[in-house]
């Protein structure tokens, strides 16, 4: 009797007869990034005729809720789980339990240290490095070789964000040794707070030469502050992810580069691989679609444009 409001409109798709069920568990539902992943998963479900359940905790910090979601999927008796894990290790027990129950587990976006069938995702550490390199380059273009940068982050203790920050520091240090990180600030995914913190930093640090924002909420806040202070032209900003607001900021120059991943692909590919392993096919153990740095120069290339504006899932089917 278990019904799902998800799946391809909840109605019988072409290949529904296959009867497979895949649950997609993302890091947090209320973010357009993860909704894009849902959209990809949903499309794959439609194309392949399987039922796709979409779940996620309300916050990326809530590892425990994700454990519960995995457990609930075990209870639901699905065939496979596509999981964007909020922690490298904390979900291991739940994943093991799922695999013991015969459920295939595909991880996306972040790896886990226990065994799974496959992983698809960008290496956040490396993507962070790309951001660091780009910011270094942008600062150089401003004719500056030394100074400090603000690292605007969302939530302390979230692995992916921590990896990006670490990668960013490494990328920056490798290419611009004279430029140091002034402070790392956390805004709890609140754009207004991010704007406040950036404004404060702009006021407090005279030699602030650039800003790195580790996700879209941070990026939007930074863009707001840059506009507040009229420093669009001379303050390089590199941010992560993409959403309409960040894209607009990229277009108007308050953000200079966006490091974008491909969540739609994560979802589509995740479900596809999940079905493949469920039916006994082989899939690559690890797949990295890589991150793309979008800027004003390439933002209108069709490929980049698609990355910047991925479709998102519809809440109501």
């Amino acid at each position: 009797k278990a019904t799902s409001s998800s799946g391809p409109g909840g109605n019988a798709g072409p290949g529904k007869a296959s009867g497979l069920r895949v649950d997609v568990i993302v890091k947090a539902t209320d973010s357009s990034f993860w909704q894009s992943m849902f959209a990809g998963a949903q499309k794959a479900g439609e194309d392949l005729g399987v039922e796709v359940g979409r779940f996620g905790p309300t916050s990326e910090t809530d590892v425990n809720e994700q454990v519960q979601l995995v457990e609930n999927s075990i209870s639901r008796g699905v065939n496979a789980i596509v999981l964007a894990a909020n922690s490298e290790t904390a979900l291991n027990k739940a994943i093991d339990r799922a695999r013991d129950a015969g459920i295939k587990v595909i991880t996306v976006d972040g790896t886990v240290t226990t065994k799974t069938e496959a992983f698809i995702g960008t290496n956040n550490l490396r993507a962070g490095e790309q951001a660091g390199q780009r910011l270094c380059k942008l600062i150089g273009e401003q004719g500056k070789t030394s100074g400090r940068v603000l690292l605007e982050n969302a939530v302390a203790g979230v692995q992916a964000l921590g990896d990006r920050a670490r990668g960013f520091r490494e990328g920056l240090a490798a290419n611009c040794p004279q430029i140091t990180v002034w402070e790392e600030r956390f805004n709890n995914n609140d754009i207004a707070t991010a704007a406040n913190q950036t404004n404060d930093a702009l006021g407090a640090v005279p030699d602030l030469v650039g800003v790195f924002a580790a996700n879209n909420m941070s990026g939007n806040g930074v863009a707001r502050a840059v506009k507040d202070t009229g420093r669009t032209a001379n303050l390089p900003v590199v941010a992560f992810d993409s959403d309409p607001q960040e894209n607009a900021a990229l277009a108007d120059g308050s953000i200079d580069a966006l490091v974008v991943q491909n969540p739609y692909f994560f979802g589509y590919q995740g479900v596809t691989e999940a079905i493949a392993v469920s039916t006994g096919a082989k899939v690559p153990l690890s797949l990295d679609p890589g991150a793309v740095v979008a800027d004003q120069a390439n933002m209108n290339d069709p490929a980049v444009k698609d990355l910047l504006n991925p479709p998102t899932a519809q809440a109501s089917k």
């Binding site: 209320d30 973010s31 995914n189 609140d190 754009i191 006021g203």
Partner: protein, 350 residues
């Protein structure tokens, strides 16, 4: 018996100056909040050159504004012994509604009005459930907090709504006479609600309902109507906060306002309100919000490591309230705390 008038109390009560405004208006902790604030400003001005600059003051006032407005709405509810956990979600909801309506082509004033009214409607529902269905405010507004956030996410599908028409973002981002619009609006709200609470019949009803709902009812105060109004106003002010935040961010962000309820309640309590009702003022709540905003702003200016900053702000909030309390005890007439009133006040009221 030819005794004189024995009604004369031995320690006659008459020599204090005549007061008509409620007790808590005159002394009490609301005033104290201001003292803490002054000290804080002084300390930060000494510690950081950039603190007292015009630019930073404008920043600070923008950072404070939305919190202050929401806190004042929350205060109204807290004065009646209630609590409103839904304000954060209402901020998100109304911001998204305003943005959505603008995208649909509504003129700005109409979109703003509709969005604020949506906040009011949420408040009215809260109020009816509290006042007539007699459900605990904590539960009513907790349920509403979840439901309203769910509605925002459904409406927006977790997507940011933008771009918005030109003029909208200027509401919250521009200045009038060199002072940010947000500051003007906040000050107007403080004055308006302060006036409402102190000088109007409705305001006194709010304190009466919070002091003792049954006694108020017996005195002819329309308690249920007061409650509904109070929740409605909290919703309206949160709605205003949501619209301003959307304007400030130039987008309707569905996660906007998360955890603001806690900030709002904290601002009220820091500003001298009691969760047991009937104590607190609009100015106090706004001061409480400004204290936390200033702590954050100052911490950032001083470049304190963000983990230590969290610890420091936790400790400083405690210190501010202790100082305030201490001051309150010194200024208020000595025995007060020891003596009679203790029935209502808890072991150190929350």
């Amino acid at each position: 018996m030819a005794l004189p008038k024995l009604i004369v109390r031995e320690r006659d009560i008459g020599d204090r100056p005549s007061r008509i405004i409620g007790w808590s208006d005159a002394v009490g902790r609301e005033g104290g909040g201001l003292v803490v604030l002054v000290i804080l400003f002084g300390a930060l001005a000494l510690a950081s050159d950039s603190f007292l600059t015009g630019g930073n003051m404008a920043n600070l006032s923008r950072q404070w504004a939305v919190y202050g407005i929401i806190a004042i709405g929350e205060l109204l509810v807290i004065l009646t012994k209630g609590i409103d956990l839904s304000v954060g979600s209402v901020v998100g909801l109304t911001g998204a509604v305003a943005a959505q309506l603008l995208v649909l082509g509504f003129p700005i004033p109409l979109a703003v009005l509709c969005a604020v009214l949506v906040g009011g409607v949420v408040g009215v529902i809260n109020g009816i459930l509290v006042a007539y269905a007699k459900l605990p405010p904590f539960i009513v507004t907790l349920g509403m907090m979840g439901a309203a956030r769910g509605v925002v996410l459904v409406i927006t599908n977790a997507n940011t709504i933008q771009p918005l028409p030109e003029g909208f973002s200027s509401i919250a981002n521009e200045s009038l006479l060199g002072i940010p619009n947000l500051l003007w609006i906040t000050v107007i709200v403080i004055i308006a609600i302060g006036f409402l609470l102190r000088r109007t019949v409705f305001g006194r009803y709010v304190y009466a309902a919070g002091s003792n709902a049954e006694s108020a009812r017996l005195s002819g105060v329309p308690v249920p109507r007061v409650l509904v109004t109070v929740y409605a106003m909290s919703g309206l002010l949160a709605g205003l906060g949501g619209v301003l935040l959307a304007s400030r961010l130039d987008a309707g962000v569905p996660t906007m306002g998360e955890t603001y309820e806690l900030d709002a309640i904290a601002a009220c309590v820091i500003g001298g309100a009691s969760l047991f009702g009937a104590k607190g003022s609009a100015l106090g709540a706004a001061t409480g919000a400004l204290i936390t905003s200033t702590l954050n702003n100052g911490g950032n200016l001083l470049g304190i490591n963000s983990f230590y900053l969290r610890i420091a702000i936790g400790v400083l909030i405690l210190l501010a309230v202790s100082f305030d309390q201490l001051q309150g005890r010194l200024f208020a007439r000595g025995e007060q705390t020891q003596a009679g009133t203790s029935g209502n006040s808890p072991p150190g009221e929350p």
